[in-house]
Symmetry: C2
């Protein structure tokens, strides 16, 4: 896996984050680690846990959504930091929507590759395209829309 | 909560299912329980676990997706059984896609209400509309497309 500096994007930008899917500080979470790769992409690998079953021996759709949602943050984080679009809390963007398509059964007992790239970006809103591959085939893919997060007072 | 017979839809139709979100036989899963309610709707309540944080003190988007995906199965299950569209494995449909919108922050430390209803149905494909409410407001909503599952030989 090609990486810019060998440090996961989550560990570099959000080391104290407790997000269930990707927070380095959530010991009971999935601890997704994503890296910068060639061509402006980000890449992660993830091996599901036995309890992530969908009931048919494949990966649960909600866990697929969690992986894609969290991985979709990583091109956003990289672009936000490159452009200075950052917040004091560390996380300047939140997901507004996720359009998810399940293409093929996603295995439960294999290591999956998750890829992502930015499709649209501005200071106010970014969209990432993310997908899960195994055995050379796309298993699920999503477009995630991230909007600038402004805490409600 | 109004229910047809007091038995959760998952317990009635899929008692041996190991799905992470709603399988009665997955002790490490979320164990979502959904019930038939008035007006053809289905309803569930769920209290998130502390580790389901999104990193900002609200519910993680992937767990939201899991709850909505699994709950979206329940109007499909009820309709499938009412029409005799069932499979020997118990689960005759799988999610083909989920179009998810995060409307407002979803609390992490409250009991959420999840509602669902069928919007389109045929033997081959059904669509459910599902949403999470708390404090009288929609927090997230999704349209889920379920297609007839035919195992690949």
């Amino acid at each position: 896996m090609s990486t810019a500096d060998g440090i996961a994007i989550q560990d570099r930008f959000l080391p104290d984050m407790t997000c269930f899917g990707c927070g380095p500080a959530n010991a009971k979470g999935l601890l997704l680690k994503s890296y910068q790769a060639d061509g402006g992409r980000t890449v992660a690998e993830f091996t599901p846990w036995p309890e992530h079953d969908n009931g048919l021996g494949f990966l649960n759709g909600g866990i697929i959504a969690t992986l894609l949602d969290c991985h979709s943050a990583t091109p956003v984080l990289v672009a936000a930091h490159a452009n200075g679009w950052v917040a004091e809390t560390g996380l300047a963007y939140v997901t507004a929507g996720l359009d998810l398509r399940y293409r093929r059964p996603t295995p439960l007992r294999e290591t999956l590759t998750i890829l992502g790239e930015l499709s649209v970006s501005s200071a106010e809103e970014m969209t990432s395209h993310v997908w899960i591959e195994w055995d050379g085939k796309v298993r699920a893919e999503a477009d995630a829309t991230w909007k600038r997060f402004r805490p409600r007072s």
